[in-house]
Symmetry: C2
DNA sequence: GTGTATTTTAAACAATTGTTTCAAATAATA
DNA sequence: TATTATTTGAAACAATTGTTTAAAATACAC
């Protein structure tokens, strides 16, 4: 009936039309957003026929969602893994864990890697209030918040749950803002390099958290 | 020649077609973004003919820019005024000035006022990398940064210029993130009300700044 | 090989987009 | 009032949009 996408079971060779479309979607949508990319742009990049989008995904928006869901899951897993890794070393300190959480994502944005662009697209989506807001943020802010709060309370036992949640949110603020406005950061902070930026953020976040624990 | 918009000098009565279009643009674009609003949506809301957009502004994008430029200027002025006001009272402290800067914008977002929606649109625009990024951020991050750095160094004389800029950027981070993700904030911080949120941000920011000054 | 299912293709679809046209209406000026 | 200039209006414009169609090509099973 409305089973647009045929079963397509099996591996399909990793360079099938379906996969090429997903790759094209990842690149183009991140560059120009949903409305900025036409179906013909996608099929042009993927070297396939216009009808392929509807044949395999059932529509432009379905392709968008499919690509999006994968990326969110990917980012989410990576972030949780980073926390676990940072907590797993012999003597984890607040600063070392903060650095682990902050360094890599910011570096991805700094070097304008695809990973950084995906995050920008995600924020854009949430601001645009398009479909996915709930789905994204749920997995994001439930799974990840739980992990982060638990780790933080291990590192700074004086914090109760309420305080830890506030702290995690503020660390997120300090990380995501320069993440989104990386170019602007260096524009208004002349004579500062990438490492100094990271050092500052880690220092500032740690100071805030320590002050919370002290009062 | 390409003088699409006739001179239109004089007051025009404050409810002219031109003004109604600007009002409609402010509301609709903030709700659904540039691509989400058609010329017919605008002229429908403004109760005028489709051709009016091109007649008065020379195109949909020109109307968008006009509306945008006004709002940015407005926000910028208001923010600088807030800093001046907070610094003008008898004994301004770091905390009192931070509170003044942070409280009102967040309240606007919390109450879902138009002012809050405009800021979201601005961030969206910067992320979308549409035309205005440079223009906005220049006025924004040049004028405002200068004012804020000066005020901060008065309050905390131990900070040099470099430190003060970093501090201002981090305060901005702590403010803008919950501004954008207000709903998510309260979702992941159950049992916290608006005042507690503001108190936390002020406390956290002040602690970071004081730590910078102390080292 | 034959026959069936899957994939690919070019063409056309209907709807919406921003913009233009030009005549009618209104305001302003003399 | 007569003569401009300005503003409004309905209609049409060309271009692009996402999607569908139906025939051709390919793959697969037997």
């Amino acid at each position: 009936m409305d089973q647009h996408a045929p079963v397509t079971q099996g591996d399909a060779g990793k360079d099938s039309v379906r996969d090429r479309l997903l790759d094209a979607a990842e690149v183009l949508f991140c560059e120009r957003g949903f409305d900025g990319v036409s179906v013909r742009d996608l099929t042009g990049q993927a070297n396939c026929n216009v009808a392929a989008v509807n044949y395999y995904f059932g529509g432009k928006d379905k392709l968008y969602q499919e690509m999006f869901k994968r990326q969110v899951q990917d980012i989410c897993c990576r972030q949780i893994a980073r926390i676990n890794e940072a907590m797993g070393v012999p003597n984890p300190t607040l600063e070392s864990v903060l650095r682990e959480i902050i360094f890599m994502p910011l570096l991805a944005a700094y070097e304008k890697q695809q990973r950084g662009r995906i995050m920008r697209l995600m924020v854009r989506e949430v601001l645009n209030k398009t479909v996915h807001g709930e789905t994204i943020l749920e997995a994001f802010h439930t799974q990840m918040m739980t992990h982060a709060v638990q780790a933080l309370r291990t590192l700074v036992p004086q914090l109760d749950d309420k305080q830890a949640r506030l702290a995690v949110f503020s660390v997120d603020s300090l990380k995501i803002h320069p993440f989104l406005f990386m170019d602007e950061f260096f524009a208004v902070n002349p004579g500062i390099n990438f490492d100094e930026m990271v050092n500052h953020i880690v220092f500032f976040a740690a100071a805030g958290i320590r002050a919370m624990a002290a009062r």
